[in-house]
Amino acid sequence: MKEPIVMAKNLRKSYGDLQAVKGIDFKIYQGECFGILGPNGAGKTTTVAMLYCFLPVTKGHLEVLGMDVTNSPRQIKMKLGVVPQENNLDLELTVLENLIIYASYFDIKKRTAEKKALELLAFFNLMEKKDINVEQLSGGMKRRLALARGLINSPEMLILDEPTTGLDPEARHIIWQHLRLLKQQGLTIVLTTHYLEEASQLCDYLFIIDQGEIIERGSPRELVEKHIGRYVLELELPAEKHQCLLEELDSNVKGYKLLGNTLYLYLNSEGQYAATKLQQYPYISYQLLRPANLEDVFLKLTGKGLLGGE
């Protein structure tokens, strides 16, 4: 039975009367890619900030790498890599200098740091930019540098807070590729995100947090199968027709969700039948048959889209 490398019990964070994280429990195991999913303001950033010993815990128990975050923050930080939400790189330094200076915070000798830095720059395809001022890099490159910086101390666990927010699709996919490679090398990864695709692609296990509470947890596939099924049919049709449509489709539909004017039907495996039947149905202004995904899970569980907070 593997020992978890992160253990949270009744973890709480309050700012005066405001409760950002309301007593959550979770475990993270070595080698997995663990996701923390939720809309903006759910408590994702607060939770990971407690993990990397930046924010003090208000109440409850949090152990990282076998050490209590309240008692041993410095020792824990030595073994963690952190990529915060905002690129907080030193704009006055070059790419290489950023890595070497950051390494000094971990008491890493300059020669070792330089060697590791060059390895990381090669891995993240930033070698040509090593002597360029960080200010001149594109957003995607800055994020890759932030990622490299998070690895300069060869951490046992890498924590990323919304790693691809604000990046264009190409940059996002490049980051995912790098993260997958790191995972293959055995690195434990914890990431927060409000992008369902990212969570589906990268995470072995995740929990969904909303307003400071964990509302569901599991692997992406488990959650989708459990709550939705395999296919979803999105429809737009007049409100008064909804009821009779549902009655007509009956057992073909496992469940549904109405969001605004759009009806999301969770289809059973015979769902293709429903889709073809609808071709004869009048009044449908918009129709899309697609595989079920995590956003459907979230819509079902909370009644709002993951991007609803923006």
Binding site: L55, V82, P84, E86, N88, L89, Y102, Y105, F106
Partner: protein
Amino acid sequence: MTFYFIEPLLYLSAMGLGLGAFIGEINGTSYVQFIAPGIIASSAMWAAASESTYGSFVKMHYQKIYHAMVAAPLSIEEVVAGEILYAAFKAVIYGSIILLVITAFGLVASPWALLTPLVLVLAGFVFALLGMIWTGLVPNIDTFSFFFTLVVTPMFLFSGVFFPIDNLPGFVQIAAWFLPLFHVVVLLRSLVFGEIGLYLLTHVGILILTIVILFPFPQRLMRKRLGI
């Protein structure tokens, strides 16, 4: 960067030579010689104060570098102490360069002036701390102008840099003792002119006491500011 250099030298020449042509001797020395030590002191003050305000605020608030450092095995107290040390270091460097310049112009009377960098260390810390306290408090970068208008500039004008304060009303002379720059100016002027006495230790003591009292405040404020 070179701005720190040029401004003290401009004051030295405009006031020292320009105004000095109309002013006779002060306490037996020429006007430019009189103000030179004060210019050293104030250049140290401006260097430390600027770095610990604008310099630190940009790093903390806009670049969020403090957050990056505290995510590493550093505490916010260490980060703030480092920033203060750097600002003080700048004060020592700039003040010492001005000292070299005025020595080159033959305005230094005594070898005691070699102790100037030690006084500048104290000055650097005091002004770095004052600036850093402000940085811990301000909501946005515009409010720094209050610091410079209400704290730094009055000190610059009323600490004995440009004129002795002996002829000002009694309450002003007493108030000067609460201005750190006043003590720095007294110390540097005494060193440069070679007028040494044990009474100078009082001024040293006041500066050290100020540093000790102020030291924890920027750290506390910054911890609160970052929400940790």
